[in-house]
């Protein structure tokens, strides 16, 4: 079982590195949104610093959506999904390996790039630290929630739009608590740990629900 998990993880990471995969695309998209914001809002540094965490979180959420539709669709198209069904490990383990690989090449780079992009919206050093922490903890929730939508739309030819409409409402709680945790770290009336612990809980819940939900969706797909 661990052999299958590791083999699939390594394969997906290799593929992401080889094709130049969705990781770099998400990162460029993230950069594009964050760069455009100061141009639209004007050079008011106080305003930018105040709404900076919200901008970064929205950009990260949208960047996560990019490339999510290929998570299972690519394997569905070339028949690899039929091969994945023959695994000695349960389908849930297969899904977990794929989602983990996807997060490592999309979610993780977003979190690590946040301080750099935070410069563009005049974030303070404490703000940058808060962004890295909340994105690091929150992006797994986005990826796991998206995995259910990706599994449901794996057989659809233009599934990207339906996927976005399906999963966006379920990503809103993560967005709310991610932004409020980042804001709490910068000062405010609520302590940082309250929204941050809820964010952790959201990620853990989506980890379980996303894995089983996506596996169930793949099983029922013809």
């Amino acid at each position: 079982m661990t052999g299958s998990f590791r083999a699939l993880l390594v394969r997906d990471l290799k593929l992401a590195a080889r094709v130049g995969g969705s990781g770099t695309m998400g990162l460029v998209f993230f950069l594009a949104i964050v760069t455009l914001m100061p141009f639209a809002l004007g050079p008011d540094l106080n305003l930018l610093a105040r709404i900076g965490p919200a901008i970064l979180w929205i950009a990260a959420l949208l960047a996560t959506l990019i490339g999510l539709d290929r998570l299972f669709q690519a394997d569905q198209e070339d028949g690899s999904l039929d091969l994945l069904r023959l695994s000695p490990a349960p389908l849930e383990v297969v899904v977990l390996a794929k989602v983990l690989a996807h997060w490592l090449v999309t979610g993780l780079p977003l979190a690590l790039a946040a301080p750099l992009f935070g410069l563009l919206v005049a974030l303070t050093p404490e703000g940058m630290l808060a962004m890295v922490t909340t994105l690091l903890v929150g992006t797994p929730a986005l990826t796991f929630i998206g995995a259910i939508g990706a599994a449901l739309t794996a057989t659809l030819r233009k599934g990207g739009l339906i996927l976005a409409i399906l999963v966006l409402p379920f990503m809103i709680p993560t967005l709310i608590f991610g932004v409020s945790a980042a804001n709490a770290a910068l000062g405010g009336t609520i302590p940082f740990s309250t929204p941050f612990l809820i964010l952790i809980a959201l990620s853990l819940i989506s980890g379980v629900v996303g894995t089983f939900g996506a596996a169930a969706a793949l099983r029922s797909a013809e």
């Binding site: 052999g3 299958s4 590791r6 083999a7 699939l8 390594v10 394969r11 290799k14 593929l15 080889r18 094709v19 198209e77 070339d78 028949g79 690899s80 039929d82 091969l83 994945l84 069904r85 023959l86 695994s87 000695p88 013809e222």
Partner: protein, 206 residues
């Protein structure tokens, strides 16, 4: 292991494709599935591979230990399940590690199917027949008793078809079971034959 299929029926899009398909296969047996285009040959293999759920009937597996049917079989379908960006060798290494029960090393498996030179070539550079052979080499890297082959000789030249025939015979001698759909006569010794006919669509009586 022993495989028996009883009264299997398949529906796709609420239409009955075939029904009443039964057969029993012992170790060393081969079954050639024949039928016209659209008769449901591929659907039969997809049911056995666990991709489709049968509308009726059942598939029984005996003497297979604790393994479930999907863990006992190799499936080579129309889509070759190869990643174009990876080399032939990397594809086979993945298949061996993922499926478990490793048999031949990937270079040996490629050599057995006459593609030793493709080990370090990305699959994207290979021709249709060569890709099909890499997919067939997957049969050799992991040990599984049941081979499900959907039109395995498509795009293969006559020399490769002969290699495929020898591989199937060797697998049967080792106690394996092969189920293949094919139009081209693949001369297997003592193979059972099954002809699938499409269930006629009943006219609505007014």
């Amino acid at each position: 292991m022993r495989l028996s299929v009883e009264n299997l029926a398949c529906e796709r899009g609420e239409r009955r494709i075939f029904e009443g398909v039964s057969f029993t296969l012992e170790p060393g047996d081969a079954l050639m599935v024949r039928g016209r285009n659209g008769a449901g040959k591929s659907s039969l293999l997809e049911i056995l591979a666990g991709r489709l759920i049968p509308a009726a009937g059942r598939v029984l597996l005996r003497d297979a230990g604790e393994r479930s049917l999907p863990e006992c079989l190799h499936y080579v379908g129309h889509r070759d399940a190869l990643k174009a960006a990876l080399t032939a060798g990397e594809n086979l290494v993945f298949a061996r590690d993922f499926l478990g029960d490793p048999a031949l090393a990937p270079p040996e498996a490629l050599a057995a199917i006459g593609l030793a030179h493709a080990l370090h070539l990305p699959v994207a550079y290979l021709s249709a027949g060569q890709r099909r052979r890499v997919a067939l080499a997957r049969l050799l890297v992991a040990e599984r008793p049941l081979w499900l082959l959907d039109e395995p000789s498509t795009a293969l030249d006559s020399a490769s078809q002969e290699i495929l025939r020898l591989l199937i015979e060797a697998h049967r001698e080792a106690g394996g079971i092969v189920i293949a759909t094919t139009h081209a006569p693949l001369a297997l010794a003592g193979a059972q034959e099954l002809t699938i006919e499409r269930t006629p669509v009943l006219e609505a009586t007014s």
